[in-house]
């Protein structure tokens, strides 16, 4: 039985070992996102939302966000597309939230994208594999 090789997305490890990878939004805007299986909805920084022209005054809804240290509310908007490697998903809901500048990433890649695939982490290679 042959194995599906999947799409290998080269990233890098940072901040104690987490994986960050380049993601392209709306086929035009590329940023580094932290891959986070503990995040239900993919998250963008407020700066990214402004750059790609999301209208923060007209979100689809607001969600309560529970993280390890606090609960807050954040607007939910929709991306036309999100591409990681050669894998592209459309109509992806995203949260917009300010991220700490020290993180030095522009978003968190969450389960609403990752869950469309069978992701494998190769931490020793700094690689995300999407099947």
């Amino acid at each position: 039985m042959s194995q599906r090789r999947g799409d290998r997305v080269q990233g890098r490890r940072a901040y104690g070992g987490v994986l960050v990878i380049p993601c392209q939004l709306n086929d035009a805007y590329r940023y580094w996102f932290l891959v986070d299986t503990g995040t239900a909805l993919t998250m963008l920084s407020r700066q990214v939302a402004e750059e790609i022209g999301l209208d923060l005054t007209r979100p689809m809804r607001h969600e309560r966000i529970a993280s390890v240290h606090k609960v807050t509310r954040a607007p939910v908007l929709r991306l036309n597309s999100l591409r990681v490697g050669s894998q592209r998903a459309t109509d992806i809901e995203v949260l917009v939230l300010s991220l700490p500048p020290d993180l030095r990433v522009d978003g968190l890649l969450g389960v609403n994208f990752l869950g469309q695939f069978r992701p494998t982490f190769e931490f020793d290679q700094g690689t995300l594999v999407l099947r």
Binding site: A14, Y15, G16, Y29, T39, G53
Partner: protein, 61 residues
Amino acid sequence: MVEETGWDEQGNPTNGVVVAHAFDRETIVEPTSRLHMQKPGVKTFVFYDGPKVPEGLVVVL
């Protein structure tokens, strides 16, 4: 912020031109928005340069 000008067969950027840079992220927002308005279809890559791991920082989200 870099305007991408070349890509490999997987679509990863291989060439680009630095369009804007700044010490703080906020300063990059306006030039990025402006470039996309002026050049529809342009592809950009915004990333942080310099030390990738702030000293002593471990992420627990």
